[in-house]
Every structure is written in C-alpha cells, then in structure tokens.
Symmetry: D2
Subunit: 377 residues, 4 copies
C-alpha cells in the first residue's frame, strides 16, 4: 500500500505527511452523493457543530470550519482586532515566525514577548498590557488587543489549567480577549500530563481552534467562539479572507467524524462501528472516547516509547516536551547517522555547533516503525 | 446511498452540492498512508503539475494548487498588482460582486466595465486602459494593472477564441496582464460551442486557474502561470494569504486524478481503469479524454437535454448560455410550482416582477434526474 | 509682489493656486515663538475647536485637524468602516475617482451609485442599502457601512436642506452613518442659494470635514464628529494614517483664524482688527461674519459676475452650478482662444467633440482679474 | 510676543514646540499671492529640488515633499517593499515603536534587531538577512526587504561614516535597499562629531528623508531617492497614502528657504539678506552655509553648553549623545525639582526607580534660556 515511499527510511518528520484517518475517508465516501447546501450550511456541518458544542460544554458557541492554521489565525485575529490594535504572542509563536507575515499583511503588529519553551508567562502579559496604558505616549503606539497562545505550543509544551486560568483572568481584567491556537490540540488532549479540557478552553478563552490538519483530517480547523456573535459578520469575514469552502460539508463531515464516540481501549478502531456511530449518534461500546482523542492517543503512546528510549540511550533531550514532539540535541556525527536512516525535522543550530532535531509522531504512526526507530537510536 | 436527502425534491441549484468524483475519493483512499512532503512539494502534486503542463502545452508553467475560487482570485490578483493598480472586471464579475470585497481588502480597486451576458468587450477594455493614460490627471487615479475575465462567465457564456485573442492582444499591447477565472472551466472545455482550449489559455493569458471545486473535486483550484516566475515568491504569497495547504498532496492527488486520461465515449467511468491509469500514466483504451473533460461532458449533456425541453415547452430563456447553467424567466405562479418540486437558484428579480431562475447541472447530475426534471417542466 | 507668475495670463484654474488668506499668515507670524504642546493638544487648536463647536452648535463634537482632503476622507472612512463594509458614493465622488485608490488601499470597496450633476439621490441610496439586505446572498457581498457625499459636490452643486435631511433620515433608519466631504464648504456656506448651515451638518451627519486647503488655508481640514467618541481611538488612527501633525498648532492656528468673526460688508478685511479679534475672541464691528464665510463670499461674488457674463455672451453652461465653479461647453476654436489667455481646468471631452472647461474662483480671486476675464469672454 | 506661554517655565521638552524659522514665514508671506500649479509641480518646489540635489551631489535624485515623519516612513517603506517583505529596524526605531503600527497597517512586518544606544550593528543586519536565506523554511517567513536606520537615532546618537559605509555595503551585497530616517538630520549635520554629509547619504542610501518639521519648518520632510525612478509611480503612491499636498508649494517654499545659503558665523540671520538670496540664488557674504545647517548649529551650540554644565555639576549622563538631545538619570527629588521649573521629556523609568529625562534643544532655543537652565541645574 505504501509502495511509493522510500522503503528504507522511517518518517518522523511531521504530523501532516499522510492523508486522513481512514474513518474520515470512509465517511466522505459514503456521503459522497448526498446533495447538500453550500458554504457550511449543510446538515453535516450542523451535526459537527452540535457535537463540538457538546464536547466543549458550550451550547451557544459559534463554530466555523476553516481550511488551515495560518488561515484560521489570520482570519480570527484580523476579525477581532480593530485597526489600532495588535496581538501579543510569544516570539516563537506561529503567528510571529512561520506565517509569512500574514498578521501584518492583515494590518496588525504582532507584539512579541519572550517565551520559556514556547510558553508565555502571565505576568509578562500583564506587564505588556499595563505598560501600554501606563505609557504617557500610548496613543502613538499599538494597543494590545488580543493575546495569542498555542496549546500545545510550537515546542510541544503545555499550559497547565492553573497557568491558563491565570492568563485568562489577566486578559479579562485588562479587557483583552484570549485566543488559543490548537493546531495540535488532539495531542494535548490525549497527553496524561494535560489538565486542560475542551470545556476549560471554552470557558477561559474568547476564541480557539481545534486543529484538524495535523490531527488526522485531510485539512480543516474548527474555530470555536464560545460566546455567540463574539465576532459579528464572521461568515463574511471568512469569505473575504478566502477561507470559505463552497463545499463546506467536506470540512463538516471530517469534524463530525472526529467528534464521534468510538470504542476506546481496544487499540484499534472498528471502521464499521464508527461509521454507524457517526450516522446514528450512538455507540454500542461501554468504554468510548472521541475519535479526535483516539487520534491523539496513538501519537502520545508512540512519543512516550521513543522518549523513554532516548533517555535510556543517553540522548540529550533539548527541552521537556510531553506531547507528540521530541527534541534532541545531537552533534554532527549523530546527525549524519540519524538523517541517513530517518526523516526528521531540523529545528535549530545551537551556538555550540550542535543541532536540535525534532522527532514527531502522529495519529498515523505505526508502532512497528517505532520499534525500528528505537532500534536505530 | 442518498438516504439523507429529501427524496421528493430534485437538485439543480448548483454544481457544488455533492462530494467529489468517485475516482478522486478512490485515489485519496489508496494513497492515504503514503508518506510525503508537505506544502505541495510532494510527488503527487509534482505529477499533477506535469500532467497539467502537458495538457496546457506549457512546459515552463508554474502551477500552484489553491483551495477555493475567491481565495485563488484574491491571491493571484493581489500578487500581480502593485499598490497603485486596480483590476478591470465586468460589473458582474465574481470579483466585483460575490467575493465580499476580498480584492479591496487586499488593497485594490475593481475597475468595473459594463458587460454583455457576463462578457467584457475588447474595445471597452482598450478604452478603459487608454482613457487612464490619456487623462491628464491619471497620476491621481487607479492605474489598470490587470484584466480579469471568467471562462465560462458567471452567466455561463463563453468567450470565443477570436474574442479571447483580441482581448489578449489589447492587454499585451497595453502592457496589462490578462487573468482568466476558470472556476467552471471543465464545463467550457466540454461544450461543443467552445473553441478555446487549455493550450489557448496558456498562450493567451498570463495567469488562469483550472477550477476543481465546481468541477468534480472536493475542493481545489489549479493556478497556472504559463511563464515561469511571472509572480516572484508566489509560494510565500500563497502562504501569507492563508492559501497554502500543509497537506498539499490532497489537492495534488485530486488534480492528478482529474488530469488522467480515461476511456471516453463509454458514458461510464471505470474506477479500476482510472486508478491504474493515474499510477501508471497510461490507459489501455483507444478513445480517451481527461477525467476533467469527462466531468464536464456529463453536465453539458444534461444541460443540452434540459435546454431542448425548455424551448420545446415554451419557457422563456433569459439569455443564451451554452454551458452547464440555464436561466429561465418565470412568473410567480410558475416560480411557486417549480420551487415546490425543485431546488433551483434564484438569480434576480426583473423590473416586470418576474424572476430569473438558474438551473445548474454538474459532473454529478444523474440522467434519471434529468428525465424527472423534464417531466416536471 | 507677483513677479514670478506670467503677467499675461489670468488664473482661474483652481482654488488652491495661491498661499493662504493674509490674516492666517499674519497670525502664524505673530504666534511663531510661543511654546506649545505637540500633536494638536496646544491652546491654539483647543481654541479653534471651541470656535468650531460654537459655529456648529455642537458642544460635544470631537474635532481633529488633518492635512488634506484625500487624507481626511481615507482616514475617516477607514476608521468608521468595519472590514466587511464599504462606502456608498456617487460614481463622480472624489473618493471614487481622484484619490488614487486610497479607500481601496485601506481595504474597502467604494460602492458607486449614479449621480445627477454630482449629487446622489436619497431613494437610490435606500435602494442600494435595502437591496443588500434583501439579497439572499448578501453575506457574500460588501455591506454598505457609510454614505459619502460632498457639499458642494465635485460639480459645484449643492444639496438642499430638504435633500440632506432625507438622506440623513434614510441613513439613520438603515443604521448607516452619513459622512460629508466639505473640501469647498466655505463656497457652499457663502452661496445665497444654499440653505444648509454648519449646525444643520452637525445635526444631520455623523462626520464631516470643513475644508481649509481650498478655502483660504495653507492646508488643513477640520474633521468634525458631532457625537463624542463616535470613532474610538481616532487620535491613534490619525497617527497610524500619517495624518497627525507634530506641530498640530499650525493647523489649529489657521482654523482659529478662519473661525474668527470679522467685519462683514466692508468688502475688505482689516488685518489689525482680525488679529486682535483672534486673540480676544471679540470684534468691535456691528456686522460680522466668520472669516471662513468671508473667504467664500469673495469667490461667490466673482463667480456670480462671471456667470452673468457667460449667459449674456451666449456661452453654453454645461450644467447649473451655484458655487465657485463654472462649467462651459466650448468647441475647439473657443477652447484654443480661451486657453491662450486663461488658465482654466479641462473637465471632460464630450462625445460630440466639444470640451467642458471649468472656471474656478476662490478667496484669492481679484475682482480686477474678473473684469479682465469678462472682457476676454 | 510670547505672551501666551507660562513665563516662569523653561521649555526644553522637544524640538517641535514653536512655529518655523522666521525666514520661512517671511518667504511664505512674500510669495503668498503668486499663482502656481498644484501638487508640487510648482516653480518653488522645483527650485527646492534643484537646491537639494546640489547639496546632496545627486543630480538625478527624485525628491518629494511629504508632510510628516510617520507619513514619510510609512509611505516610503510601503512603496519599496513587496508584500512578502518586511523592514529591518532597531527595536527602538521610530517605526518599531512610535508610529501607531503604521508599517504593519501598510501590510509589513518590522523585523526588530537589538540596538546599542539606538544604533544597529552592521553584523547583526547581515546575520538577520543571511539567517533568512539560510533557513530551510524561509519561504514561510518574512523576507528582509529594506533596512531602516535613523540619523541621528531616536537616542540622538550618530552613525559614523565608517559604520554607515559598512551597513551600506552589506545591504547592497545582500540586495536589500537602505533607508535613512533624517527627522532630525539638521542636528546631525551641524554636529562637530558627525562625519556623514548629505552627499554621503545620497551615495550610500537608496532613500532618505531630510527632516523639516523638527528642524525649523512648519512641517515637511524632503524624501530623497538618489536614483531616478527607484520607486516607480511614487507620486501616485504619495497621493494614495494621503501624503500629497494640493498646495505643494507650501512645502516647496520651506525647503527652498532652508536650502538657501546664508551668512554663517554671524550668529544671527539677516532676514533681508536671506530673502534676497532665496530669490536670486546668491548671497553676498564670503562665509556661508545653508539655512538648514544654521538651524542645526544653534541647537548644537546650546546642547554643548548644557552638556558641559551637566558634567560639571555631576549629573549622571544616561548615555553619550552628541546632538541636540541630552539624557540624564535623576532620582525622584531631582526630578520633582527640575519638573517644577522646566518642561522636559520623560524618557523611561529605570529598574532602580530612577528616571531618565530628556533635555532637547532646537533651532528656536534662546541662548538666554540656556543661561537660565544652567543656573537651575
């Protein structure tokens, strides 16, 4: 089945190297000839919204399905900010570095703050906002109008519920909304060290998105606005930003599938069971979880095994990361050897000449590949 | 299979009411677990590009796969224009009316000209450009920097090769590039009255896109820039506009499939044959066409039958349209009767109180539904 | 004193060909070494604001001094509109034609409506707004978010109080603000046919500007927002748009002078008297008017004399215009003769080959030049 | 004459607290009724351009007169950059901090680098540009497209000719243009420690502006583009950015006056002499300098005297600054005492609780006020 890929190399470079979870393709296939309305007003999208509202315990949430992460960030941020405002982000935030200037192209400054393993500190957020208002010249400056954080961060680290609560309190005390980029949210939700749930996000944030592209979908990000009409005319803004799918159902069907309950614990998804469950809204198993959570669990299980092997074999872990990304610092000899056998991600060159490499697992990681990887390590 | 749709209503409202051509889903499924690079640098996208270059007889063309039509238009237009320039379009052009101001949000004026059944006239384009340069105050005005037309137009009409050649000559004489929106290009290519081929478009235009969303794909538009590097750093501009897919392969696989040769004439696509053909690049049949053309043929055949029935039954055709859209002018009684049985598109209210309705066929139109529609008419 | 200008030609090309009303220069000179705060927070600007509020009978108005007309229009319009909105304007409106795409560069569509001698019709405004909301697809379109008109219009015509009241009522019923471009407002206020006063503008509009550049100032436009905080953080928006003067006093002093009461009727301004009046806020004369009104009166008196001469000598008046602009339709022979002796403005070429020329008077028009012009005519 | 200012307080808060150099007002007055063309095409502006070209030894330079600093920066930067590019600046650069996000509002990221007393280091510029191109993911990032520095910097410090030459070499080797903000350029040119001349700037930079607003003009900044047509259609871009003066002559006359040769050394400008010189282009004195240089000399002389007094009296100089700005670090007692008697600028709060205050001199600083200031110190 995997005949076109190099058979000798193992792929741990990223979590968007394959298609979609098989259940998604199956569901797309079985609904293919159903007629439905365009632009996300179809029944599949409505059903997906209902499931996400339920999972988030946010009955009034507005939910929109966009295509990709940069697009979701740019559209949401631009739509929340007024022209005189900017968005606070970690200097390592995706919007600060890897979106080709999309936020600035939308007219807004990214106000960067120092990070610690990709995370912002609540106090530094407060100092930044307070500093603006305390500055006698603040009317000549960019007003902080939104706080952007990622869960997990670009370094794979997690905000604890306590940290997120504190950031949320500061934001709301300062009248600045909080937005969370959940491009890899499945891998946070599935992580045993994580204590932030979807209902927590809906309660503490003004906007967040549940990532699909990196979490088992062909594409798609579900933007959740817990308070109805928080962004007026957001539909039109989505359209204007080129982020509206004519066949909105294609995103809707994927999230409907991802937010269906499946049998957990079995370690294996039963396609037939899920498909029936998506349609009926029920599942026969006693122990269930959302497919979105199961997608994360596979990656986390693989990452945990790899992490243990790395420690055991004496690799230098660059920084602690409990989710599906692992970072190791290697010298040139190690680097060459690993890169001959593995597809990894280059992360950065250290001042001492050594290199940080990223190992990334996903919903699609095969445990046999993990075995082989551990052998190589 | 169609269990969720109302069984009593026929759907002729638009060409994006279903999923994708079955061969596309099949191909997505069979390639699903292949590992590949991100952002459109994968082998599937490369193969799709090669096939499109061949079909367009444009060996040096840059080809990028974007997600949707408004996005493709906004990204291409913004990327070609300099800040002091605007884009000429028909006042009925998609960019003029139905893109929620995306072109203006990108900083550019849409310079609208009168249309005739959705088409621009070469002379009026020349007068507009020449008028700008002749105006003593032109430095205070927006410079025409691009011409935008649609093939087929928003009214389903077609530019002839002679018309397109004349527009192209004027554009190039005036040093203004020409861009063609091909959201429904399959329905032009399949139309017997059409004499503009893909190589003609590649020869006469500076940029165009081959529509996927309305022509059998889940989503996706292939932007073709016949001259290499016509838009420098277009990759980054696509990213900045939120139009870059992390899993670029999902678009690539779809276009690779659409640009595969399939047996023509059989009136039926053989899934197995196509799938083998996509992989091998060959087809065993003597009579072949691209799947993209076949997708159009089904719609045109259906539209032709409906058109003949409309004429025969004395319906007032609002304006001549040879492709997959038909427009009829009806009074309120007719309107009510039709809308009870059919899903059609409201087009406009005429000053005399009557209504123009649109009947739209697609790659997915079932000829049995056409039979029933003709009966109802 | 006028040694550098061609002595043989008369200048009636525009109303911005000279410096400033002498009293303005005098006032700038006498206040030159006073220290004051920057960015318009100085005492001169405060005094100017107080005088304008009084003249407009708008005690709560926010008033900001910007530099030029295009800048004022772009800054105000951009600041009022949300990203999904556009501004309604006559197709001949300054924002539609002669601002080099500044409104679109700010991200917004100019929704153009047909005009009659430069004026919009209240009903067509209503149809446009209502048409948007009635359209089933309006979420895919640009929402009318502001109405822009000019008083006097670009054709020198005037909205009557009745017309303006009707437009204002429609705007407010539709929840769309009304903005008036008063680049040449002095010439409206001084016109006997005008019945729209400054308090009327402040009562009926949500924003307007009192033009300085074309009405006797070196530069400067006073943006009046009758309701306090109608545009939140407008100061920062002005700065961001490059429209904030570090030496804001230079604009403030000019408007303070223009809104000082001077002796009317004398046909001549007494520099000493005005200067004292600006400082003390009082004038000794019984019959007074604002210097801003007097500036207009000189132009209107000159235009009236020229108009009468044109009619008497059988020139074809292109269209009725009661203010400081006169439009005549001439054939090529007339055109050549006039242009040899006069600096006029080319307006447009008529389809019949004749030309419309504009004769423009101003605060600076010398009545002896009017004598000579009438002789030439 | 100075009756409206508080007699008991001395003003050293900034260099834009007064009107204009008296010769400018005189020249505006004597040319006031001359007719001239609009939008900077007048004879005064042409003459000013010729004088600036000569002073810069840049015979092909394009020169445009804009209104203010933020406006000049935003318009130039936006016009040079392509959408995928950003501008490198010190984190303390005016564009980074005090322009209310104008650069980002124009669609571009300000790529900030660390500073040393307001200055960028050539090597860190090179690392930034090189780092972009070396990054495997650079197509997802903002390309450095321009380098912005200020001379003098926002801290009043100066780039030496050697430093500027090195930065220029790096920029041109990397194919990135160099832009210099000369808001306070007169104070650099007049500084004995400065070795960068106007011809040096024209030779080493791709664009710079000669500041008027803070250097003796009512307003105005002369943008110099040493190579003709470096920014195509810049006139239209200026208009679009609301930066085009209808009465362009008002800026032209000011720069024509500032770039007139006046008797140097006399310590006093003879108004009559200058005025004749502006008109005739000649001056009778043997020892001459440009009025623009003389404007700077007054400020530098005052600053030098104050600096010497500060050192002598044991004040802590916050950092070395050779131009017209002086920074002292004071405790709360000192601060209160000084602020009771002086108008100074608050600069920043130090972590140790002390305050940095700025003392600023200008073209308008009266040496008697310097005497009184030194007494107070």
């Amino acid at each position: 089945m995997n005949d076109q890929a190099s058979p000798s190399k193992l792929f741990f470079a990223s979590d968007y190297m394959e298609g979609a979870h098989p259940l998604i393709l199956q569901r797309l296939t079985e609904t293919n000839l159903v007629h439905s309305a365009g632009y996300g007003t179809d029944e599949f999208s409505e059903s997906a919204r209902a499931k996400i509202r339920k999972a988030c315990n946010a009955p009034d949430a507005d939910i929109h399905f966009l295509v990709g992460g940069t697009q979701a960030n740019a559209t949401v941020i631009k739509s929340i900010l007024r022209p005189y405002q900017g968005v606070i982000a970690a200097e390592t935030g995706h919007v600060s570095t890897h979106e080709a200037g999309a936020i600035e192209a939308g007219g807004h400054k990214v106000i960067t703050l120092p990070h610690r393993n990709g995370k912002l500190n609540a106090d530094s957020i407060e100092r930044c906002i307070q500093g603006y208002w305390d500055d006698a010249n603040h009317e000549h400056m960019v007003m902080p109008g939104l706080v952007y954080i990622s869960q997990p961060t670009e370094f794979g680290t997690l905000y604890s519920l306590e940290e997120l609560t504190k950031i949320s309190e500061i934001c709301h005390r300062c009248n600045v909304p909080l937005y969370v980029d959940g491009a890899r949210l499945a891998y946070a939700l599935a992580c045993p060290k994580n204590d932030v749930t979807l209902p927590d996000l809906a309660r503490l944030c003004d906007a967040f998105y549940i990532g699909g592209t990196k979490c088992g979908a062909l594409f798609g990000e579900a933007v959740v606005l817990p308070r109805h009409d928080f962004i007026p005319h957001f539909f039109t803004l989505i359209k204007q930003n080129g982020a509206l799918l004519a066949k909105g159902r294609i995103a809707g069907i994927q999230f409907e599938t991802l937010f269906t309950e499946v049998s957990a614990g079995s370690g294996k998804v039963s396609a037939e069971g899920v498909s029936a469950a998506v349609s009926s809204g029920e599942t026969s198993s006693d122990e269930t979880c959302l497919l979105y959570e199961m997608v994360g669990q596979n990656a986390i299980a693989a990452a945990d095994r790899i992490r243990a092997a790395l420690v055991q074999k004496g690799y230098e872990i660059s920084f602690e990361c409990p989710t599906n990304q692992l970072f190791i610092t290697v010298d040139d000899t190690q680097k060459e050897r690993l890169e001959a056998l593995l597809e990894l991600s280059f992360w950065e060159k250290r001042p001492d000449g050594r290199t940080v490499l990223r190992i990334c697992t996903s919903w699609a990681t095969d445990q046999r590949d993990v075995d082989r990887l551990i052998e190589i390590l």
